[in-house]
Subunit: 146 residues, 12 copies
């Protein structure tokens, strides 16, 4: 089993961004933690981060055929990136949407996700551990044939 | 550590409700699974289900002082039960909001949660395993002093 | 054939409520009239009234398996009780929504029913006779295999 | 007692229109059924159908003075024909609004009726039998002096 | 100088319509009054009334080339008849919109005119005398080259 | 019979304001024209202009008891001056609202009048002659006992 | 004279709830203070609190016939409990709506009361003393025959 | 293959309407051009224009059974004629919606088409040549079995 | 202790305004009653009324430094006078907003107060006695150090 | 004559994307077909596809000076890419907006195009042949000097 | 060159108002600073402040003919004073709108300016120095003939 | 002191874009002017322009740590680029938002800035000189310790 781990804009900046909101774990540390857990679950992880919507789309187009599921934290693209959404729909794989912070207790514009309606589910507000949970839940889901 | 596991209206009906949406695991089975995992994590679980908003409020008022965190699937109360929200605010404990289905791919009225803004986070769309993830995430969070 | 006859909040007060709007027939008289007509049609009726949304849900959960259809006047729950709606969806029986008054000529909040989209149909504005019509229409519908 | 039975646009096409939504009874058969029941109730029925809003208005202007009540299925005019509404207000007779399908479980634009606020009541979703019920309810209402 | 005097739906019913709102002068009497005043002003008047939007459009298309201005009471078409509006725009003559009643103190839907933005001006709430004023104002306006 | 002629903000500037919109007649000339026509109709006119909402209210409070009707062009106060509206309601006299320009073909904010719902009627778009028409219509109305 | 003193959800928790918002006086202390003042005014008080909307309705149905006025703090039910509103309308007594906190300086959802339109008046933001003021105002009002 | 070519209100006026917007080709010329191209494609065309919504519905009801596709320019009916939409739905043929002008760069009310959601597609802004393109595209589509 | 008693537009007209809504007590009588009660409570009162928003602002700027609290009935300025609101914010004293009538059962525009979010609290619907209650509540509040 | 043929995000994926919606022709095949037809019309075509909004802008800035018209399918950028819109406005050439699917019968967010108001016209719902039609219409338009 | 420097409500209170938001420079100091800079630029400045909308209008009407440009900080009038806007439009001079604070990071009602659409430009958030910048920019603009 | 000077999409096109709106100064000329003035103020300027949102984010992430303030003209990204906003928030430096044109007098979509709420302030409508003013204001602000 292979999972794409995709991070959107500004997530490369974790550890430097407002740590009260996002925690102080850096993205490489998170990716490593996800890969470690994935290894335990005998799952392969291909990770990618970009601040460019179109580059995320390119990655999804290139890699999704060989993948079984997608974990994505779309950052602020969550709220308007319909082209990213289309790429995820085209990928036609189970998607877990992850947010580090609880988007529902922040600014109004963060309450609407254009990705959520096409995902399997969403995990928000539990910091970097949300990625691990997403991984485990997607794997469980796959094992149990949904 | 002690966690309240609260289920709102119609969740006592799981297994009978539309299984394409909610899965066919019954609530007692879910509660047992949560308790089993809790035991492994050395966490106590007090569970409660009711179809009456006021009864859920009574339970939260009575039990939250002795608890460290709350897992709640508010069912359809998610979308309008401001009194339940107030009770959860008063409880002043970390709250994980769980939904079996992906509320964001269903009817419009399910896209708005009056509970989410006061929760730590939300897990939606991963069926009953979402409860287990919520338990693990709340425990992790507590261990790491947030 | 068995039909559930469910009345929501404040309908136990009929005859005392504003008679210009609701008429002066009491609920027991209405229930008796429905049962009399049901007997003629060889249909069984189980009736229930409560001011508590959760109690209505309990009744629906307990009784709907043995019933063939539901007549419900949800009173003011019509406009916000999504948990009641979910219980009715779970019941998976044909539903007739009845209102004594013409809700569309009253306050704005009465113009939206959260129940209507999941009912077979709605009868509003014809006073207590609307219940009789609902009974006859549900029976006709059942006889004609829809 | 005399009742006007008015059908709006596309209802002349019943039996050919999507039968999953509207049933496969034709309009002449419905009108005949209403007239048969009316005869039993010693009520006269004058029926009219048109696809032209203005022609429906003409009919109402010409015939309402001699009528005691109106049954109308305004078809899609339900949602925007304020001139038809004005004609019905001018007629100053009790009005029953009938819809074959449950307009509340269809497209958004069908959820709003510009006729409903000026009618006595509405019957929707019970197919052609809704006309019969409307007839009986209007007659009952007249007999009981409302 | 020639003026078209156009009346929309239900205005043929004046005198019979709610006289508290519309007054009890009939349309022929109003038309005669307008023509009498027009004669004094040496203006020709061609009048037309229809309950059919398309017929009003036909009249405007046929007659506007030979006319210098238009007085129109669009009745309830005021609020939605964009095709009528297009016909009036095509006519390319000064238009006075007249309403017998004060539409701004009545139902919400009457507060919006789709005709007003393309008219020279509007007179509302002064009963049938509003037509006379409209006539005088259009004539004055023409004489003074606007 | 006595009529108050009230002009709101910036109307003292007529003749200097955009003449394409408001015409090039000055306010004193308009007031004189209204008074001349009033004299012919044996009506007394008391006129007032101010750019201060509160001063207009003072004038209405002081003068309305002795007046029989009010002609008001509230200028831009039309769109938000609820205190002015309250003063006009308190005056309890028939009110004619006049606008020089067609407010419905200008900016969106000009489409809503907070005065119109409490007036007898409105004349808009016919320049200064609208005042004369308002005077004549109010006088006619008074003579005919409405 | 007899007054019903009704408190909605979470108000039994006063003294424990966020004291910065609600003060630290408990509900029994407030009820005692109201009853003490009532005794001075020779008014009887029957008090009730519940977290269940339906139970509040039951209390109102049972007790309002023998009461002369109602003081109610509906808690968060203020914002959506239309069935509670209907029960209060049915009671047909003068109602004073009380809020401990200034609901207008808190979350958006607290700005709308479904109870206020059917009350005599509202007192908000003055803590528990608002109940005393409500009592005095209702008594004054009754003495002065409104 | 047979195609209905339907034109709505005011399109009979082409060549006289604002030629900056609609071009100066008349409707007969357009119809002739479509028929000429149709002949080349061995397609029959039945054309109809009316300013009356109901007459367009009549035509569609009468002619659609024998037709294979529909080209319609609904004129201003585009924006509100739900009855026309219902007739087109009932016809159950592929529909091409044509507009001479680019409705999206004109008034707000022209941005919403009630027809578009039930059409195969839309061509707007290319003047009378849009009809020819619509014809070719519908024919291509039919030949290629969609 | 010193309190400012401020009354906005049209309140100088009390006793003459619609007495069904505002009661028939005049403003001088109300001011006298407030001052009498204030004397009993050993509180000084400085009162002011104006129909001019800017004059109310001037008064607040001049007098608030020497005052301990403000009672204000902003009249219709309640709904739009943001400059008045700013003056009250600048004053930085506890504010009680008073309305004679229940604004929530009147026109829609009266449901929104731009003052309420910056006040301590609001009393509405209890006529002139609401001022007395406001005085007592502000004094109580001050005595108890909030 | 030279035309730019621009395709936005995910259109490089045609043939793999949901073929029920987009058809199964790949983008190179479409581009080839457009170029073939262009050659027949003696028109040059420069084509470009990118998933990056900024790259599309770069292409437009670089190439539009030498081009006579633009055919663009902006993919999901249609709905929010105002920067792309600005680039197209700056290009100052006639633009044809093409969509493969009928965006008006899909999700709500697809009903609004930020590009349409600045285009000459739009062709939607006719699959890849829409590009050919756009080419022909732009060429015709140019030949006929609009 | 002569510039009007106009300050709206509560700006006379600068230095006393919340200094965290508005800074602690008083209005006379600001005016002096603007005049000093103006002198350097050989520009005359006429300044005015009022809390009364109508007085600001009077000033603009009286002074704008002799002025070349206007700097205005409309205070809270920014958000609703359409009469002030009309006066500024009538003045027909280049207008710079200045705000001390960043209105876009404050309450919602401050996000909308009714003045901005008719100004040359806006400077917000840079404290009193914004006035100096406005002066320099207006002078530059004038020198460069825009 | 070091300032980032960032320009968003299409600003590289200045001088070629609609000069009536944007002026005819090119971006290199503007950047040179800003740098010249910066040199006088002993401030370093690092400038960057891109049409790609993600590239702007990259630049901000790379350069903001070494900078003291940011001047940004986000072009059309102003209205939807929440990811760019997040990058600016993360940078945690004072930001001046500059627009060449008065965005408030142009299309509706330009009236909302997603950047403004997180900026220190905004300068709009004064052409390229707005950049110079922004520079001076940021430097002043820094010197004066805000």
């Amino acid at each position: 089993m292979k999972i794409l781990l995709i991070n959107g804009p500004n997530l490369n900046n974790l550890g430097k961004r407002d740590t009260g909101i996002y925690g102080n774990t850096t993205l490489p540390v998170i990716v490593a933690a996800v890969k470690k857990r994935a290894k335990e679950l005998k799952v392969q992880v291909a990770d990618y981060q970009s601040n460019v919507e179109g580059d995320l789309i390119d990655f999804i187009q290139d890699e999704s055929a060989s993948a079984d599921a997608i974990i994505i934290n779309p950052g602020a693209f969550t709220h308007y990136a319909y082209a990213l959404r289309d790429a995820l729909v085209d990928a036609d794989k189970p998607i877990a949407e992850v947010h580090l912070s609880n988007v529902y207790s922040r600014e109004d514009f963060r309450h609407k996700s254009v990705i959520a309606p096409i995902a399997v589910g969403q995990i928000a507000g539990f910091g970097w551990r949300g990625y691990i949970a997403a991984l485990e839940l997607l794997v469980d889901r796959a094992k149990n044939n949904k």
